[in-house]
Protein backbone atom coordinates (compact mmCIF):
# COMPACT_ATOMS: atom_id res chain seq x y z
CA UNK A 1 0.00 0.00 0.00
CA UNK A 2 1.47 3.29 -1.13
CA UNK A 3 0.56 6.35 0.92
CA UNK A 4 -0.51 9.42 -1.00
CA UNK A 5 -2.02 12.81 -0.19
CA UNK A 6 -4.87 12.42 -2.62
CA UNK A 7 -6.48 9.79 -4.86
CA UNK A 8 -8.19 10.57 -8.16
CA UNK A 9 -10.62 8.08 -9.66
CA UNK A 10 -10.37 8.40 -13.44
CA UNK A 11 -11.48 4.85 -14.14
CA UNK A 12 -13.58 4.40 -17.26
CA UNK A 13 -12.55 7.79 -18.64
CA UNK A 14 -11.03 8.02 -22.11
CA UNK A 15 -8.27 10.33 -23.25
CA UNK A 16 -8.04 13.32 -22.68
CA UNK A 17 -10.08 13.16 -19.46
CA UNK A 18 -7.55 11.36 -17.19
CA UNK A 19 -5.02 14.13 -17.82
CA UNK A 20 -7.59 16.91 -17.66
CA UNK A 21 -8.75 15.69 -14.24
CA UNK A 22 -5.21 15.06 -13.03
CA UNK A 23 -4.21 18.60 -13.91
CA UNK A 24 -7.18 19.98 -11.94
CA UNK A 25 -6.47 17.94 -8.83
CA UNK A 26 -2.76 18.71 -9.07
CA UNK A 27 -3.54 22.43 -9.04
CA UNK A 28 -5.16 22.00 -5.64
CA UNK A 29 -2.24 20.12 -4.07
CA UNK A 30 0.64 21.60 -2.11
CA UNK A 31 4.12 21.48 -3.64
CA UNK A 32 5.72 18.10 -2.97
CA UNK A 33 2.46 16.26 -2.33
CA UNK A 34 1.75 12.93 -3.99
CA UNK A 35 -1.30 12.01 -6.07
CA UNK A 36 -2.52 8.56 -7.03
CA UNK A 37 -4.49 8.50 -10.29
CA UNK A 38 -6.56 5.39 -11.00
CA UNK A 39 -7.24 4.94 -14.69
CA UNK A 40 -8.30 2.24 -17.09
CA UNK A 41 -7.24 3.96 -20.33
CA UNK A 42 -4.12 2.09 -21.46
CA UNK A 43 -2.71 5.15 -23.15
CA UNK A 44 -2.71 7.00 -19.84
CA UNK A 45 0.69 5.69 -18.73
CA UNK A 46 2.60 7.24 -21.62
CA UNK A 47 0.57 10.45 -21.33
CA UNK A 48 1.16 10.79 -17.56
CA UNK A 49 4.90 10.42 -18.09
CA UNK A 50 5.02 12.92 -20.94
CA UNK A 51 2.68 15.38 -19.21
CA UNK A 52 4.72 15.26 -16.00
CA UNK A 53 7.91 15.84 -17.94
CA UNK A 54 6.44 18.82 -19.75
CA UNK A 55 5.03 20.41 -16.56
CA UNK A 56 7.91 19.66 -14.19
CA UNK A 57 5.94 17.34 -11.93
CA UNK A 58 7.57 14.09 -10.94
CA UNK A 59 6.18 10.91 -12.48
CA UNK A 60 7.02 8.22 -9.91
CA UNK A 61 5.62 5.11 -11.53
CA UNK A 62 2.60 3.01 -12.32
CA UNK A 63 1.26 -0.13 -10.67
CA UNK A 64 -1.04 -2.39 -12.65
CA UNK A 65 -3.80 -4.04 -10.65
CA UNK A 66 -6.03 -6.10 -12.88
CA UNK A 67 -7.46 -3.65 -15.40
CA UNK A 68 -6.71 -0.62 -13.24
CA UNK A 69 -3.55 1.41 -13.69
CA UNK A 70 -2.46 3.33 -10.63
CA UNK A 71 -0.22 6.23 -11.55
CA UNK A 72 1.80 8.06 -8.92
CA UNK A 73 2.79 11.68 -9.39
CA UNK A 74 4.44 14.20 -7.10
CA UNK A 75 3.73 17.88 -7.50
CA UNK A 76 6.69 20.01 -8.55
CA UNK A 77 8.30 21.46 -5.45
CA UNK A 78 11.07 23.77 -6.58
CA UNK A 79 13.17 22.29 -3.79
CA UNK A 80 16.38 22.32 -5.81
CA UNK A 81 16.81 26.05 -5.35
CA UNK A 82 16.71 26.14 -1.59
CA UNK A 83 19.91 26.89 0.23
CA UNK A 84 21.33 23.97 2.17
CA UNK A 85 22.36 24.47 5.81
CA UNK A 86 23.39 21.15 7.39
CA UNK A 87 27.17 21.07 7.48
CA UNK A 88 28.04 17.38 7.40
CA UNK A 89 27.55 16.13 3.86
CA UNK A 90 28.64 13.14 1.83
CA UNK A 91 28.49 12.49 -1.92
CA UNK A 92 26.50 9.70 -3.52
CA UNK A 93 29.74 7.94 -4.47
CA UNK A 94 31.15 8.07 -0.95
CA UNK A 95 27.92 6.74 0.48
CA UNK A 96 27.90 3.88 -2.01
CA UNK A 97 31.42 2.98 -0.91
CA UNK A 98 30.40 3.04 2.76
CA UNK A 99 27.42 0.76 2.06
CA UNK A 100 29.64 -1.65 0.15
CA UNK A 101 32.12 -1.73 3.05
CA UNK A 102 29.51 -2.04 5.75
CA UNK A 103 26.10 -3.54 5.11
CA UNK A 104 24.84 -2.07 8.38
CA UNK A 105 25.30 1.55 7.31
CA UNK A 106 22.10 3.37 8.26
CA UNK A 107 20.48 5.15 5.34
CA UNK A 108 17.33 7.13 6.08
CA UNK A 109 15.19 7.94 3.04
CA UNK A 110 12.96 10.95 3.85
CA UNK A 111 11.10 11.11 0.52
CA UNK A 112 7.37 10.37 0.27
CA UNK A 113 6.49 6.70 0.53
CA UNK A 114 5.43 6.59 -3.14
CA UNK A 115 8.84 7.88 -4.24
CA UNK A 116 10.52 5.28 -2.06
CA UNK A 117 8.27 2.50 -3.37
CA UNK A 118 9.39 2.85 -6.99
CA UNK A 119 13.10 3.35 -6.42
CA UNK A 120 15.26 3.14 -3.31
CA UNK A 121 18.59 1.95 -1.99
CA UNK A 122 18.01 -1.67 -0.91
CA UNK A 123 19.08 -1.14 2.72
CA UNK A 124 17.44 2.27 3.15
CA UNK A 125 14.78 2.83 5.78
CA UNK A 126 11.74 4.83 4.65
CA UNK A 127 10.74 7.68 6.95
CA UNK A 128 8.89 10.39 5.06
CA UNK A 129 9.66 13.97 6.06
CA UNK A 130 6.12 14.56 7.31
CA UNK A 131 6.39 11.69 9.85
CA UNK A 132 9.92 12.43 11.01
CA UNK A 133 9.23 14.00 14.43
CA UNK A 134 6.67 11.45 15.55
CA UNK A 135 9.00 8.59 14.63
CA UNK A 136 12.30 9.85 16.15
CA UNK A 137 12.12 6.97 18.62
CA UNK A 138 12.74 4.44 15.84
CA UNK A 139 16.27 5.80 15.46
CA UNK A 140 19.39 5.57 17.61
CA UNK A 141 20.84 8.94 18.67
CA UNK A 142 24.43 7.69 18.85
CA UNK A 143 24.63 6.02 15.42
CA UNK A 144 25.84 7.53 12.20
CA UNK A 145 22.77 8.25 10.04
CA UNK A 146 22.93 9.13 6.35
CA UNK A 147 19.86 11.07 5.30
CA UNK A 148 18.86 10.97 1.64
CA UNK A 149 16.07 12.43 -0.51
CA UNK A 150 15.78 13.19 -4.23
CA UNK A 151 18.03 16.24 -4.51
CA UNK A 152 19.58 16.76 -1.06
CA UNK A 153 17.18 19.49 -0.01
CA UNK A 154 14.53 17.73 2.06
CA UNK A 155 17.30 15.60 3.56
CA UNK A 156 19.10 18.80 4.52
CA UNK A 157 16.07 19.92 6.50
CA UNK A 158 15.65 16.46 8.01
CA UNK A 159 19.32 16.41 9.03
CA UNK A 160 18.91 19.76 10.79
CA UNK A 161 15.83 18.55 12.66
CA UNK A 162 17.53 15.33 13.73
CA UNK A 163 20.60 17.20 14.96
CA UNK A 164 18.45 19.66 16.90
CA UNK A 165 16.69 16.70 18.50
CA UNK A 166 19.98 15.38 19.82
CA UNK A 167 21.11 12.95 17.12
CA UNK A 168 24.90 13.14 17.15
CA UNK A 169 26.15 11.90 13.78
CA UNK A 170 23.77 12.98 11.04
CA UNK A 171 25.08 13.31 7.47
CA UNK A 172 23.21 14.70 4.47
CA UNK A 173 23.66 12.87 1.15
CA UNK A 174 24.13 15.06 -1.92
CA UNK A 175 22.73 15.17 -4.52
CA UNK A 176 20.64 12.11 -3.56
CA UNK A 177 18.40 9.65 -5.40
CA UNK A 178 17.98 11.72 -8.57
CA UNK A 179 21.62 10.93 -9.44
CA UNK A 180 22.05 7.61 -7.64
CA UNK A 181 23.98 5.05 -9.69
CA UNK A 182 24.31 2.30 -7.11
CA UNK A 183 21.96 -0.64 -6.72
CA UNK A 184 18.28 0.11 -6.15
CA UNK A 185 15.16 -1.79 -5.31
CA UNK A 186 11.42 -1.46 -5.81
CA UNK A 187 8.83 -2.43 -3.27
CA UNK A 188 5.96 -2.55 -5.77
CA UNK A 189 5.19 -4.71 -8.77
CA UNK A 190 4.96 -2.58 -11.86
Amino acid sequence: MIKTNSVLDAKGLACPMPIVRTKKVMNGLEAGEVLEVQATDKGSTADMKAWAESTGHQYLGTVEEGTVLKHYLRKASGEEHEEKKHEKVISNEELLQKIEENQKTIVLDVRESAEYAFNHIPSAKSLPMGELEERFSELDKESEIFVICRTGSRSDLAAQKLTAAGFKQVVNVEPGMSQWNGPTKKSVNE
Binding site: C15, P16, K23, A50, S54
Partner: protein
Amino acid sequence: MTLNEMTAKEVSKKVINKAELFILDVRNESDFNDWKIEGENFEFLNIPYFDLLDGVEEIIDKIPANKEILVVCAKEGSSIMIAEMLSEAGLDVSYLKGGMKAWSEHLEPVKIGDLNNGGEIYQFVRLGKGCLSYMIISNGEAAVIDSTRMTDIYVDFADSIGAKITHVFDTHLHADHISGGRKIAESANATYWLPPKDATEVTFEYQPLEGGKVVTIGHTAINIHALYSPGHTIGSTSFVVDEKYLLSGDILFIDSIGRPDLAGLAEDWVGDLRETLYTRYRELSDELIVLPSHFMIIEELNEDGSVAKKLGELFVENHGLNIADETEFRELVTGNLPPQPNAYQEIRETNMGKITPDEEKQREMEIGPNRCAVR
Protein backbone atom coordinates in the same frame (compact mmCIF):
# COMPACT_ATOMS: atom_id res chain seq x y z
CA MET B 1 -16.06 28.83 -36.60
CA THR B 2 -16.86 25.42 -37.99
CA LEU B 3 -15.80 22.10 -36.56
CA ASN B 4 -15.95 19.09 -38.89
CA GLU B 5 -15.26 15.42 -38.74
CA MET B 6 -12.89 13.98 -41.34
CA THR B 7 -12.82 10.23 -41.96
CA ALA B 8 -9.74 8.11 -42.62
CA LYS B 9 -11.15 7.52 -46.11
CA GLU B 10 -11.21 11.26 -46.81
CA VAL B 11 -7.63 11.57 -45.59
CA SER B 12 -6.67 8.65 -47.88
CA LYS B 13 -8.07 10.52 -50.87
CA LYS B 14 -5.95 13.52 -49.95
CA VAL B 15 -2.84 11.35 -49.74
CA ILE B 16 -3.55 9.77 -53.12
CA ASN B 17 -4.49 13.07 -54.78
CA LYS B 18 -1.45 14.76 -53.23
CA ALA B 19 -3.73 17.41 -51.78
CA GLU B 20 -2.55 19.95 -49.23
CA LEU B 21 -3.40 19.50 -45.55
CA PHE B 22 -2.11 20.97 -42.32
CA ILE B 23 -2.05 18.35 -39.58
CA LEU B 24 -1.93 19.36 -35.93
CA ASP B 25 -0.96 16.11 -34.21
CA VAL B 26 -1.68 16.34 -30.48
CA ARG B 27 -0.16 13.02 -29.42
CA ASN B 28 3.07 12.67 -27.40
CA GLU B 29 6.22 13.64 -29.20
CA SER B 30 7.57 10.11 -29.05
CA ASP B 31 4.43 8.67 -30.63
CA PHE B 32 4.49 11.31 -33.34
CA ASN B 33 8.16 10.75 -34.11
CA ASP B 34 7.62 7.00 -34.31
CA TRP B 35 4.64 7.07 -36.65
CA LYS B 36 2.37 9.62 -38.26
CA ILE B 37 0.10 10.21 -41.25
CA GLU B 38 2.26 10.71 -44.33
CA GLY B 39 1.31 12.75 -47.37
CA GLU B 40 3.46 14.44 -49.99
CA ASN B 41 1.87 17.83 -49.48
CA PHE B 42 1.03 17.54 -45.82
CA GLU B 43 2.47 19.93 -43.26
CA PHE B 44 2.78 19.00 -39.60
CA LEU B 45 2.80 20.55 -36.19
CA ASN B 46 3.14 18.30 -33.15
CA ILE B 47 2.05 19.72 -29.80
CA PRO B 48 0.76 17.28 -27.17
CA TYR B 49 -2.85 18.01 -26.14
CA PHE B 50 -1.84 18.31 -22.50
CA ASP B 51 0.30 21.32 -23.31
CA LEU B 52 -2.79 23.05 -24.66
CA LEU B 53 -5.15 22.53 -21.73
CA ASP B 54 -4.87 26.17 -20.71
CA GLY B 55 -5.59 27.47 -24.18
CA VAL B 56 -4.53 27.45 -27.81
CA GLU B 57 -3.65 31.16 -28.10
CA GLU B 58 0.06 30.41 -28.22
CA ILE B 59 -0.18 28.18 -31.27
CA ILE B 60 -2.72 30.12 -33.32
CA ASP B 61 -0.05 31.98 -35.25
CA LYS B 62 1.70 28.70 -36.10
CA ILE B 63 -1.38 27.49 -37.97
CA PRO B 64 -1.72 28.69 -41.56
CA ALA B 65 -4.92 30.57 -42.35
CA ASN B 66 -5.13 29.41 -45.96
CA LYS B 67 -4.94 25.64 -45.49
CA GLU B 68 -7.33 22.94 -44.46
CA ILE B 69 -6.58 21.99 -40.85
CA LEU B 70 -6.89 18.52 -39.36
CA VAL B 71 -6.37 17.78 -35.67
CA VAL B 72 -5.21 14.21 -34.98
CA CYS B 73 -4.73 12.16 -31.81
CA ALA B 74 -4.59 8.49 -30.87
CA LYS B 75 -8.29 7.72 -30.57
CA GLU B 76 -10.10 11.01 -31.30
CA GLY B 77 -11.04 12.33 -27.81
CA SER B 78 -8.16 14.78 -27.40
CA SER B 79 -8.37 15.95 -30.99
CA ILE B 80 -12.05 16.85 -30.55
CA MET B 81 -11.19 18.87 -27.45
CA ILE B 82 -8.38 20.78 -29.17
CA ALA B 83 -10.38 21.20 -32.40
CA GLU B 84 -13.21 22.72 -30.35
CA MET B 85 -10.78 25.16 -28.76
CA LEU B 86 -9.40 26.14 -32.17
CA SER B 87 -12.89 26.50 -33.54
CA GLU B 88 -13.83 28.80 -30.66
CA ALA B 89 -10.71 30.80 -31.42
CA GLY B 90 -12.10 31.44 -34.89
CA LEU B 91 -10.59 28.73 -37.11
CA ASP B 92 -12.29 26.26 -39.44
CA VAL B 93 -10.96 22.89 -38.34
CA SER B 94 -11.59 19.17 -38.62
CA TYR B 95 -10.60 16.29 -36.41
CA LEU B 96 -9.78 12.77 -37.58
CA LYS B 97 -12.68 10.47 -36.80
CA GLY B 98 -11.40 7.53 -34.75
CA GLY B 99 -7.90 9.01 -34.56
CA MET B 100 -4.73 7.12 -35.51
CA LYS B 101 -6.50 3.91 -34.59
CA ALA B 102 -8.92 4.41 -37.48
CA TRP B 103 -6.08 5.57 -39.71
CA SER B 104 -4.13 2.40 -38.98
CA GLU B 105 -7.16 0.26 -39.79
CA HIS B 106 -8.37 1.96 -42.95
CA LEU B 107 -8.02 0.02 -46.20
CA GLU B 108 -8.40 1.70 -49.56
CA PRO B 109 -9.28 -0.70 -52.39
CA VAL B 110 -7.57 0.20 -55.69
CA LYS B 111 -8.17 -1.72 -58.89
CA ILE B 112 -4.90 -2.91 -60.36
CA GLY B 113 -6.25 -4.33 -63.59
CA ASP B 114 -8.36 -6.81 -65.51
CA LEU B 115 -7.45 -10.43 -65.85
CA ASN B 116 -8.21 -12.87 -68.65
CA ASN B 117 -11.81 -13.92 -69.11
CA GLY B 118 -13.31 -11.04 -67.15
CA GLY B 119 -11.35 -11.40 -63.92
CA GLU B 120 -10.07 -8.50 -61.85
CA ILE B 121 -7.34 -7.87 -59.33
CA TYR B 122 -7.61 -5.35 -56.50
CA GLN B 123 -5.01 -4.05 -54.11
CA PHE B 124 -6.12 -3.02 -50.61
CA VAL B 125 -3.83 -0.21 -49.52
CA ARG B 126 -3.45 0.21 -45.77
CA LEU B 127 -1.95 3.68 -45.90
CA GLY B 128 -1.61 4.02 -42.15
CA LYS B 129 0.66 1.02 -41.86
CA GLY B 130 2.07 0.48 -45.32
CA CYS B 131 0.47 -2.96 -45.67
CA LEU B 132 -0.85 -4.21 -49.00
CA SER B 133 -3.27 -7.08 -49.48
CA TYR B 134 -5.00 -8.41 -52.56
CA MET B 135 -8.22 -9.81 -53.93
CA ILE B 136 -8.39 -11.75 -57.15
CA ILE B 137 -11.86 -12.18 -58.60
CA SER B 138 -13.10 -14.36 -61.43
CA ASN B 139 -16.53 -15.70 -62.30
CA GLY B 140 -18.09 -15.17 -58.91
CA GLU B 141 -15.12 -16.56 -56.99
CA ALA B 142 -12.53 -14.60 -55.04
CA ALA B 143 -9.14 -15.23 -53.46
CA VAL B 144 -7.68 -13.04 -50.71
CA ILE B 145 -3.94 -12.71 -50.23
CA ASP B 146 -2.10 -11.39 -47.17
CA SER B 147 -5.23 -10.05 -45.55
CA THR B 148 -5.18 -7.73 -42.56
CA ARG B 149 -7.20 -8.41 -39.40
CA MET B 150 -9.96 -6.08 -40.67
CA THR B 151 -11.65 -9.05 -42.27
CA ASP B 152 -15.08 -7.42 -42.73
CA ILE B 153 -13.65 -5.17 -45.40
CA TYR B 154 -12.75 -8.10 -47.67
CA VAL B 155 -15.94 -10.00 -46.96
CA ASP B 156 -18.10 -6.93 -47.64
CA PHE B 157 -16.14 -6.05 -50.75
CA ALA B 158 -16.56 -9.56 -52.16
CA ASP B 159 -20.26 -9.43 -51.32
CA SER B 160 -20.67 -6.08 -53.02
CA ILE B 161 -19.44 -7.46 -56.31
CA GLY B 162 -21.23 -10.77 -55.89
CA ALA B 163 -18.16 -12.97 -55.41
CA LYS B 164 -17.67 -15.81 -52.95
CA ILE B 165 -14.29 -16.10 -51.24
CA THR B 166 -13.03 -19.62 -51.95
CA HIS B 167 -9.31 -19.38 -51.29
CA VAL B 168 -7.27 -17.42 -48.77
CA PHE B 169 -3.47 -17.19 -48.89
CA ASP B 170 -0.67 -15.81 -46.77
CA THR B 171 2.62 -15.47 -48.62
CA HIS B 172 4.45 -16.01 -45.34
CA LEU B 173 4.02 -15.91 -41.57
CA HIS B 174 3.68 -12.17 -40.93
CA ALA B 175 5.58 -10.44 -38.14
CA ASP B 176 4.35 -6.89 -38.58
CA HIS B 177 0.58 -7.30 -38.70
CA ILE B 178 -2.02 -9.77 -37.57
CA SER B 179 -3.34 -11.85 -40.43
CA GLY B 180 -7.06 -12.11 -40.97
CA GLY B 181 -6.56 -15.10 -43.28
CA ARG B 182 -7.68 -17.82 -40.93
CA LYS B 183 -10.77 -15.87 -39.84
CA ILE B 184 -11.88 -15.16 -43.41
CA ALA B 185 -11.32 -18.77 -44.42
CA GLU B 186 -13.36 -20.03 -41.47
CA SER B 187 -16.29 -17.66 -42.01
CA ALA B 188 -16.40 -18.17 -45.79
CA ASN B 189 -15.66 -21.87 -45.60
CA ALA B 190 -12.71 -21.23 -47.90
CA THR B 191 -9.38 -23.02 -48.13
CA TYR B 192 -6.56 -21.40 -46.14
CA TRP B 193 -3.12 -21.82 -47.70
CA LEU B 194 0.15 -21.30 -45.86
CA PRO B 195 3.74 -22.17 -46.78
CA PRO B 196 4.42 -25.27 -44.65
CA LYS B 197 7.95 -24.20 -43.72
CA ASP B 198 6.51 -21.10 -42.01
CA ALA B 199 3.71 -23.09 -40.44
CA THR B 200 5.62 -25.69 -38.42
CA GLU B 201 4.32 -24.26 -35.14
CA VAL B 202 0.77 -23.29 -36.10
CA THR B 203 -2.06 -24.67 -34.03
CA PHE B 204 -4.71 -24.91 -36.76
CA GLU B 205 -5.47 -26.75 -39.99
CA TYR B 206 -4.22 -25.34 -43.29
CA GLN B 207 -3.44 -26.42 -46.82
CA PRO B 208 0.30 -26.56 -47.49
CA LEU B 209 1.26 -24.10 -50.19
CA GLU B 210 4.34 -25.27 -52.00
CA GLY B 211 6.31 -24.16 -55.03
CA GLY B 212 4.81 -25.32 -58.31
CA LYS B 213 1.29 -25.55 -56.92
CA VAL B 214 -1.42 -24.06 -59.11
CA VAL B 215 -4.73 -22.88 -57.66
CA THR B 216 -7.54 -21.87 -59.97
CA ILE B 217 -10.06 -19.15 -59.18
CA GLY B 218 -13.37 -19.24 -61.03
CA HIS B 219 -14.13 -21.70 -63.80
CA THR B 220 -12.24 -19.56 -66.24
CA ALA B 221 -8.91 -20.44 -64.80
CA ILE B 222 -7.18 -17.51 -63.26
CA ASN B 223 -4.14 -19.42 -62.21
CA ILE B 224 -2.14 -18.66 -59.14
CA HIS B 225 1.29 -20.23 -59.47
CA ALA B 226 3.13 -20.53 -56.19
CA LEU B 227 6.85 -19.77 -56.42
CA TYR B 228 8.99 -20.73 -53.46
CA SER B 229 11.06 -17.65 -52.64
CA PRO B 230 12.66 -17.87 -49.18
CA GLY B 231 14.58 -15.03 -47.56
CA HIS B 232 12.24 -12.91 -45.47
CA THR B 233 11.05 -16.08 -43.83
CA ILE B 234 12.13 -19.62 -44.68
CA GLY B 235 8.74 -20.40 -46.21
CA SER B 236 8.15 -17.12 -48.08
CA THR B 237 6.27 -17.83 -51.28
CA SER B 238 5.51 -15.53 -54.22
CA PHE B 239 2.61 -15.90 -56.62
CA VAL B 240 2.41 -15.37 -60.35
CA VAL B 241 -1.19 -14.51 -61.17
CA ASP B 242 -2.56 -14.87 -64.69
CA GLU B 243 1.02 -14.89 -66.04
CA LYS B 244 0.97 -11.12 -65.55
CA TYR B 245 1.35 -10.20 -61.89
CA LEU B 246 4.07 -11.17 -59.42
CA LEU B 247 2.83 -11.00 -55.85
CA SER B 248 6.19 -10.76 -54.12
CA GLY B 249 5.11 -10.82 -50.46
CA ASP B 250 7.81 -9.38 -48.20
CA ILE B 251 10.67 -10.46 -50.45
CA LEU B 252 10.80 -7.59 -52.92
CA PHE B 253 9.31 -4.11 -52.54
CA ILE B 254 9.28 -1.21 -54.97
CA ASP B 255 12.10 0.73 -53.36
CA SER B 256 13.63 -1.83 -51.01
CA ILE B 257 13.97 -5.53 -50.28
CA GLY B 258 12.80 -7.81 -47.47
CA ARG B 259 14.65 -8.17 -44.20
CA PRO B 260 15.68 -11.67 -43.19
CA ASP B 261 15.89 -11.32 -39.41
CA LEU B 262 12.37 -11.28 -37.97
CA ALA B 263 12.48 -14.92 -37.04
CA GLY B 264 15.95 -14.45 -35.56
CA LEU B 265 17.92 -16.06 -38.35
CA ALA B 266 19.36 -13.21 -40.40
CA GLU B 267 22.70 -14.90 -41.03
CA ASP B 268 21.07 -18.12 -42.19
CA TRP B 269 18.49 -16.57 -44.44
CA VAL B 270 20.43 -13.84 -46.16
CA GLY B 271 21.75 -16.45 -48.61
CA ASP B 272 18.21 -17.57 -49.44
CA LEU B 273 17.17 -13.96 -49.92
CA ARG B 274 19.98 -13.40 -52.39
CA GLU B 275 19.22 -16.62 -54.22
CA THR B 276 15.57 -15.59 -54.58
CA LEU B 277 16.24 -12.04 -55.70
CA TYR B 278 19.30 -12.64 -57.85
CA THR B 279 18.53 -16.04 -59.37
CA ARG B 280 14.90 -17.13 -59.09
CA TYR B 281 13.38 -13.74 -59.85
CA ARG B 282 15.83 -13.18 -62.73
CA GLU B 283 14.36 -16.20 -64.48
CA LEU B 284 10.92 -14.55 -64.56
CA SER B 285 9.63 -12.26 -67.27
CA ASP B 286 10.64 -8.59 -66.99
CA GLU B 287 7.07 -7.74 -67.97
CA LEU B 288 5.57 -9.10 -64.73
CA ILE B 289 4.04 -6.39 -62.59
CA VAL B 290 5.38 -6.62 -59.05
CA LEU B 291 2.73 -6.32 -56.34
CA PRO B 292 4.43 -6.38 -52.91
CA SER B 293 2.89 -6.77 -49.46
CA HIS B 294 4.26 -3.44 -48.22
CA PHE B 295 5.37 0.01 -49.09
CA MET B 296 7.68 2.02 -46.84
CA ILE B 297 7.50 5.56 -48.14
CA ILE B 298 4.66 7.50 -49.66
CA GLU B 299 6.70 8.11 -52.83
CA GLU B 300 6.18 4.45 -53.75
CA LEU B 301 2.53 5.14 -54.49
CA ASN B 302 1.55 5.50 -58.15
CA GLU B 303 -0.76 8.28 -59.35
CA ASP B 304 -3.86 6.19 -58.69
CA GLY B 305 -2.76 5.22 -55.18
CA SER B 306 -1.62 1.74 -56.18
CA VAL B 307 1.79 0.28 -55.40
CA ALA B 308 2.99 -1.65 -58.46
CA LYS B 309 5.87 -1.63 -60.92
CA LYS B 310 7.29 -3.85 -63.64
CA LEU B 311 9.90 -6.34 -62.52
CA GLY B 312 12.20 -5.17 -65.35
CA GLU B 313 12.12 -1.63 -63.98
CA LEU B 314 12.90 -2.80 -60.47
CA PHE B 315 15.95 -4.68 -61.74
CA VAL B 316 17.22 -1.31 -62.93
CA GLU B 317 16.04 1.00 -60.15
CA ASN B 318 15.85 -0.94 -56.91
CA HIS B 319 19.15 -0.63 -55.07
CA GLY B 320 18.66 -3.97 -53.29
CA LEU B 321 18.62 -5.78 -56.66
CA ASN B 322 21.81 -4.12 -57.84
CA ILE B 323 24.52 -5.19 -55.44
CA ALA B 324 26.84 -7.36 -57.49
CA ASP B 325 29.13 -8.27 -54.63
CA GLU B 326 27.69 -10.93 -52.35
CA THR B 327 29.64 -9.80 -49.29
CA GLU B 328 28.42 -6.27 -49.75
CA PHE B 329 24.87 -7.59 -50.06
CA ARG B 330 25.26 -9.54 -46.83
CA GLU B 331 26.50 -6.46 -45.05
CA LEU B 332 23.63 -4.32 -46.32
CA VAL B 333 21.04 -6.83 -45.32
CA THR B 334 22.36 -7.91 -41.93
CA GLY B 335 24.25 -4.81 -40.85
CA ASN B 336 21.71 -2.17 -41.76
CA LEU B 337 18.60 -3.49 -40.15
CA PRO B 338 16.01 -0.98 -38.99
CA PRO B 339 14.40 -1.38 -35.55
CA GLN B 340 12.11 -4.37 -35.36
CA PRO B 341 8.35 -3.86 -35.69
CA ASN B 342 6.38 -3.25 -32.52
CA ALA B 343 5.50 -6.50 -30.68
CA TYR B 344 6.68 -8.63 -33.63
CA GLN B 345 7.16 -11.76 -31.55
CA GLU B 346 3.65 -11.56 -30.16
CA ILE B 347 2.30 -10.89 -33.64
CA ARG B 348 4.05 -14.02 -34.96
CA GLU B 349 2.60 -16.07 -32.11
CA THR B 350 -0.87 -14.69 -32.80
CA ASN B 351 -0.52 -15.63 -36.45
CA MET B 352 0.51 -19.14 -35.42
CA GLY B 353 -2.63 -19.39 -33.30
CA LYS B 354 -0.58 -19.76 -30.11
CA ILE B 355 -2.05 -16.71 -28.43
CA THR B 356 -5.41 -15.00 -28.93
CA PRO B 357 -5.24 -11.40 -27.75
CA ASP B 358 -8.47 -9.37 -27.60
CA GLU B 359 -9.15 -6.73 -30.22
CA GLU B 360 -7.81 -3.81 -28.21
CA LYS B 361 -4.59 -5.69 -27.53
CA GLN B 362 -4.27 -6.62 -31.22
CA ARG B 363 -4.68 -2.99 -32.16
CA GLU B 364 -2.02 -1.97 -29.68
CA MET B 365 0.36 -4.67 -30.97
CA GLU B 366 0.09 -3.28 -34.49
CA ILE B 367 0.68 0.35 -33.55
CA GLY B 368 3.46 2.03 -35.46
CA PRO B 369 4.99 1.67 -38.89
CA ASN B 370 5.77 -1.65 -40.54
CA ARG B 371 9.47 -2.27 -40.68
CA CYS B 372 9.85 -5.21 -43.00
CA ALA B 373 12.41 -3.82 -45.40
CA VAL B 374 16.06 -3.00 -45.71
CA ARG B 375 17.11 -0.32 -48.04
